[in-house]
């Protein structure tokens, strides 16, 4: 006779093994037989939440609306070194733009991307609409909740019978009294329902605000539960803070997190609170908070990483590297720290040390296109030519999308330039453009190669394209200036040189060129 396992136990086992779909299916069956089984209900809620769970600390999507119509900033023109919005004020003497490429937001390119590194703070609307350079996931145009809307579609489609919990019919007051159920229910609303309901955005005109409605429901639940706990439960306060943060009420969020910290010191709360301060553009307060957190939790990796990230965002690369090194002392498998230190070594002219860091990542089991591309570049510049091309071959084999492919070809183009094979270089840059037509760097380099062949018009056209695609780069402007000067068009040379100076004021060659041009004009 076959012995069958208790279905609830089986469901638990699936949950522990992170097989959430099976777990949810079994729970659905149990719930069909006995609709009031709270254990099964709670487990299914948790399984559904886990399926779409993303770490809330890491997620920081800033929509264009939030960025351009920001009301929470204190000073429009902040003093240097006190704002994340003025990245140009480098204090630490890290590598300049001449060595280390910049992202569109004016920060040096980083070794590691997180959801929030993608949202630079552009100066103009036009720049805001263009996608950031580092990773090319499109930014939601309307609001921070845009991404959650799109994510919800899939989970909705897999549930053809309709939603698991009909939130509008739920008596939240009743649930908030049951501490065992209310927490899972809250997480479900916050992470899962937040997504699912928004599918109806396509269908119903009125439900544009459903996202907010459900957030407000989550908020309601959290508020009632805190009340039930007589305002003594730190967990509910943190959840309240999370809701306020998503709704854009940063000061209220700050209050909740502060109050939660008074009840119980938790690392997460520090991280959430620091996130609020970063959004309010108060990096110094966030830094102080992290240090305060480190007093209570010495050597905590996430807090150290937070400090390093802020330093990096404020363009203070040397101290960011110091903190990343501290992180590695605590946790020597920290991918972000290794990648950031590695890229820093590469751009400070020590490719062989960068190579060791990237090799370490490879040993740890990171296996993707980006890593092999970086290994290839490091090998080439550290003169280990035997490994270079095979690394790039692997990178090409592992690419996930056209943008990555174009970046890899762009870098191979550099190797080709390095060995003097200009035909190959030309082909590589052309390939980079074939896969990503907006690759401004490739346009610029092609222009240089075209000029070597003597095709002035073609070169000029490429440079103009590059300049319009990436106004944050100085190279196309500078090159255009030199080209115009050579063919005798001093006026356009002067304007281009001025643009180059705007984006990179310390560039010596630009200044010399400008001086020379001014002398010419004075003589005339």
């Amino acid at each position: 006779m076959e012995v069958t396992m208790d279905p609830l136990f089986l469901a638990w086992s699936y949950f522990r093994r992170r097989k959430f779909q099976q777990c949810s299916d079994i729970c659905s069956k149990i719930l069909q037989d006995s609709p009031y089984d709270q254990a099964a209900w709670s487990l299914k809620t948790r399984a559904l939440t886990e399926m779409v769970y993303i770490d809330e600390i890491e997620v920081d999507q800033e929509g264009i609306a939030e960025m351009m119509l920001d009301e929470s900033s204190i000073a429009q023109v902040a003093r240097p070194g006190t704002s994340l919005r003025l990245p140009g004020t480098s204090q630490g003497g890290g590598p300049t733009q001449a060595v280390r490429p910049m992202t569109q937001s004016g920060r040096p390119i980083t070794g590691f991307v997180r959801p929030s590194t993608q949202s630079g703070r552009p100066g103009t609307m036009e720049q805001a609409i263009k996608t950031p350079r580092t990773a090319s996931t499109a930014r939601p145009v309307t609001s921070a909740s845009g991404r959650f809307i799109r994510l919800g579609t899939a989970s909705m489609l897999t549930n053809p019978d309709g939603p698991f919990i009909n939130l509008s019919r739920l008596n939240l007051a009743k649930y908030s009294q049951k501490p065992d159920l209310s927490r899972t229910l809250f997480e479900f609303i916050f992470h899962h329902e937040n997504d699912v309901k928004n599918v109806s955005v396509n269908v119903d005109y009125y439900s544009c605000n459903t996202n907010f409605i459900f957030l407000v429901q989550a908020l309601d639940l959290a508020a009632q539960a805190t009340e039930h706990a007589q305002f003594k439960d730190w967990w509910w306060k943190v959840q309240l803070g999370k809701c306020y943060y998503r709704l854009g009420l940063y000061r209220e969020a700050e209050k909740q997190f502060r109050s939660a910290l008074n009840h119980q010191e938790v690392v997460d709360t520090y991280l959430y609170l620091a996130k609020v301060y970063q959004r309010l553009d108060q990096p110094i307060t966030a830094l102080n908070l992290f240090k305060q957190g480190l007093d209570h939790f010495p050597g905590e990796v996430t807090l150290l990483t937070g400090i390093a990230r802020i330093h990096e965002e404020m363009n203070n690369i040397p101290s960011a590297t110091e903190y990343y090194k501290d992180v590695l002392k605590q946790d020597n498998t920290h991918v972000e720290a290794i990648a950031c230190i590695g890229s820093n070594h590469f751009y400070t002219d020590q490719p062989e040390i960068a190579l060791r860091f990237y090799r370490r990542l490879l040993q740890m089991g990171v296996y993707n296109c980006q890593l092999y591309n970086n290994l290839g570049l490091c090998c080439f510049y550290a003169q280990q030519y035997d490994m270079t091309l095979s690394s790039f071959e692997r990178a090409l084999a592992l690419v996930a999308n056209d943008e990555e492919l174009s970046d890899v070809w762009y870098n191979i183009g550099h190797v080709a330039v390095g060995i003097g094979d200009l035909t190959l270089a030309y082909q590589c840059f052309k390939l980079a453009l074939a896969f990503n037509n907006d690759h401004a760097e490739a346009y610029n380099n092609l222009a240089v190669l075209e000029l070597r062949k003597g095709r002035i018009e073609q070169s000029k056209a490429f440079l103009q394209t590059a300049a319009s695609l990436a106004p944050h780069m100085y190279e196309p402007h500078f090159n255009l200036s030199i080209l115009s000067e050579k063919i005798g068009d001093l006026q356009s040379s002067y304007t281009a040189a001025q643009k180059s100076e705007d984006t990179f004021p310390e560039h010596v060659d630009t200044q010399q060129l400008l001086k020379q041009l001014r002398q010419h004009f004075a003589v005339l």
């Binding site: 993303i54 490429p101 991307v113 994510l151 579609t153 899939a154 972000e336 570049l377 970046d407």
Partner: protein, 92 residues
Amino acid sequence: MSDKNVLNAINKSTDLPFSEHSEDKMPEVKSVFREVLPKQGQLSMEDVPTMILCKPKLLPLKSVTLEKLEKMQMEAQEAVKQQELAGREQLQ
């Protein structure tokens, strides 16, 4: 000292990797021009601004959260596409 002797002396003293190579090739080409190796005076170089290439780009690694987000986004797009296809088939 003749020019060839000078060249040999340089090659011997610095032991450049291409020295043998140039020894093999050099005698065959009879140069019309005589090299000038100035013994005194200042060496000067004019710094002409040249066009610059954009720098090689290390690709940033992606965080786990970002990878998960992108994966979920891809899946969502796939699901929507499939549903649209199914809807079209039903219409036909």
